[in-house]
C-alpha cells in the first residue's frame, strides 16, 4: 500500500517535471519585446475636466452635494464618485442614461460614444477624485 503511494507520488512528480520543461514559458524579456506595449495614456486633470464639462455631466449629476442621490433618485456627482470604477464605466458609458446617448438616442451628437479608452480612463479618474477631497494646489 505504502509503496503504491510512493510510486504514484514519484510518477506524478516526473509527469509535472516533464510538463514544466516541455511548456517552458517565454522569458519576460521576449514577451515584452514582442508586444512592445507602451502605455502612453497619462492623466491630466485639466483635460479630463474639459471632457466632463463638454459632456455636461454636472447638468444632471449635481455638484457639490453631500448626498449620493438627488430627489429624483439620480446619483449626484458625489454619488458617481462613490461608485466602483468598473460599475462606473458600465453605468456611465455602456448601459445607462435610458439610451439617450446611444446612436439613435436624443443625445446621439454627444461625444460620449466617441471617447477613446484613455479619455474614458481620465474621465473616470476625474469623477473618482471628486469624492477624495484632494487639495488643489496653486503656486
Amino acid at each position: 500500500m505504502v509503496s503504491n503511494i510512493i510510486r504514484l507520488s514519484l510518477g506524478s512528480m516526473l509527469f509535472l517535471l516533464t510538463a514544466a520543461c516541455v511548456n517552458k514559458p517565454l522569458s519576460n524579456q521576449k514577451t515584452l519585446g514582442k508586444g512592445k506595449i507602451v502605455d502612453t495614456c497619462r492623466y491630466y486633470r485639466y483635460e479630463a475636466g474639459q471632457i466632463i464639462s463638454t459632456l455636461g455631466c454636472r447638468n444632471c449629476h449635481l455638484a457639490p452635494d453631500l448626498e449620493l442621490k438627488d430627489d429624483r433618485g439620480w446619483p449626484t456627482f458625489r454619488g458617481l464618485a462613490n461608485m466602483d470604477s468598473l460599475k462606473l464605466i458600465k453605468y456611465v458609458f455602456k448601459e445607462a442614461h435610458k439610451g439617450w446617448y446611444s446612436k439613435t438616442g436624443t443625445f446621439k451628437a454627444s461625444r460620449m460614444d466617441t471617447l477613446n479608452d484613455c479619455e474614458i480612463k481620465g474621465a473616470i479618474q476625474y469623477i473618482k477624485d471628486a469624492g477624495r477631497s484632494i487639495a488643489i494646489p496653486s503656486q
Partner: protein, 268 residues
Amino acid sequence: MPTDLIDELKSNISLLQNQPLSGGIVAKNLRISDNGSGELTLYGDFTITLKVLDLTTNGAPDLNSLMTFTQQVITSKLRGGGYKSGINFLKYNAVKKAFDKDKTWTYSIRYNFNFSVNVIQINMLNQLRGNDFVLAVVDSIGHQFTDQYGKRHYSGGLTNGKGGPAVITYDIWKKNRYLGVHEFFHTLGLDDIEDHGKKERLMYHLDDNTGQSISDTERGDMMHFIMGDLRRMLKGNYSNVSNNTIQLLRIFINNKTNGFKYNKAKFR
C-alpha cells in the same frame, strides 16, 4: 433631499421676514426664457460672499487692499454672464414653466446673471455658516506638487475641492495679487491649467503667468456651478446647500500633509 429642503425652507423664511440672506451664494429673481429654438436664457440676481479669515502670526497689514483687489477682479470676471452650448437636459415646457421628466433636449444656455460680490474679513469661526465660502490666510504652506512636466513646486494656495474652503499664504498673495481669485475660482469649480501654451490664463498655475484671462467655457462652468441645478431657476430664489464649511476647514487646516503654518490661537 433633507439638506436641500432645510436650506430652501430657511431661504424662504428669511425672504418672508425680509432679512438679508447669508451664505456663499444667494440668488433672487430667478427665471427662464425659452426662445423656442433650443436656447434658454437664464436671469437672476446673485450675491456671492467670500469670507477671509486672517490666521497669520504677525498680522496682515495689506489684507484689506488684497481683499478689495480680489473683490474687484471676481466681479469683473463674472460680469457679463456666460454662454454654453450643447447642454443636455430635460425638455423645458415654457407654458407649464416646468421641465418634462421624460423628454430630453439639447440646449444652448445664455446666463444673464447679475452679480454682487462681497469679500469680507471675519475674526472668529462662529462668523462662518455652513454654506459660506472661506479663504484662510496663513504664514506658509509646506505642501508641494509635481506638475505634468515632472517639476516640483511649493503651493502658494490650496483649495479643498470644488465648493470647499481655500487656504493661502499671505506673503505669496502679496507677490501675486491674483492668487486669491485663482483659489476662489477653484472653489467655483475651475481646474488648474499646466499647458505652457496657456500662460495667459488665470487658472494657469505654474508661476510664470503672462495674463489672467478666463475662457468662455470656464465662465460657463462657473455660472453653472453657481446655479447648481437648472430646476432651481423655477423656484425664484435659493441659497446654496450647506457644505459644512467650518468642519471642512477644520479638517483641511489640521491635515498635516498640507503643512499649514499659522497662528493656532487665532483659529477659534
